[in-house]
Amino acid sequence: MSDRLVTDVSVSSRPITESPLTERQWVRRGELLEAARRVFERDGYHAATVSSIVQLAGLSQGAFYLYFGDKKAVFAALQEEMATLLRRRIYWATRDESDPARRLEAGLNAYFEFYDEYRNWMRRLTVEGLGIDESFEARQVQLYETLAGGFAPTLGELGVRVPAVAAAALIGMAAQVAYWKHYQSQDGSSITAATLARACASLFLHGAASIQASQPEGDANA
């Protein structure tokens, strides 16, 4: 078995030792989380209200407060749920890839696919999430550290001398490139996750001069 990019992906916003929810509660909580994500994506954290969340979920304010103390709590729960999905995706995308270069690319591809799917949430998290308070920043730092810690052994296999620093830089690069694709480049949205992953892996391992002119497709200035 090859080294894995993400070794601990079991984080969940509800620890297994908590009192179990009933089926109805589980579904209600899920409905609220989904509605909250859509409201945060649409309105942003600061403009979002509990009223707009429960309205979209078709539930009462009272139902909201059974599961979450306030808007901040539901945002925090979403932050953890989404981080779990991202870690899980990268883990399964890379766990059986023995070639480190391909493993690196597969991990980046999973990251960019996730960003494509949840672009609005990722934007809100990037732009607003870190400014809410230190606990949000701490969760994001934990996610970045987990991802970087998962990539570091692969970078070590590829001959990188200081894998920890390189992995931190890799995660930062991936986050910025994904943001650029969706929110800064005028035609970046046509670039596929696979093309972006290949370009970023090449850039990271061989330098910017190694990126082929045809990649990323649709934007020669990438």
Binding site: S10, W26, V27, G30, A93, R95
Partner: protein, 104 residues
């Protein structure tokens, strides 16, 4: 995409490596996927996975193999899958929800 066997093997390994996550949990899960069934037995921090149906499962999860694999690999949110009836649960719902924390 990994095979279902790998996902169940991963769950088994995770429980073995972190028995504290399932301390005190004794349960038999059955997974009815497309044309195949799997059994996961958890008892006091130990786990055993085997192909085939269980004799008396506490919880049975029913999904297409594709949907189950998407849930296990982070491509499909389990709650959304349940709400969309891509995932059905028979038996102890509390146990089914605990499984969410055991997926890799």
């Amino acid at each position: 995409m990994p095979e279902a066997k790998e996902v169940f093997s991963e769950i088994e390994n995770r429980i073995k490596s972190k028995p504290e996550k399932t301390a005190g949990l004794n349960a038999t899960y059955q997974f009815d996927l497309t044309g195949e069934s799997w059994t996961l037995k958890i008892a006091d921090g130990a786990a055993t996975v085997s192909p085939g149906a269980a004799q008396s499962p506490n919880t049975t999860l029913i999904a297409s193999t594709d949907d189950w694999m998407n849930i296990a690999t982070g491509k499909l949110n389990p709650v959304q899958a349940f709400m969309q009836q891509k995932l059905k649960v028979k038996g102890d719902m509390g146990l089914a929800m605990k499984l969410q924390g055991l997926l890799a």
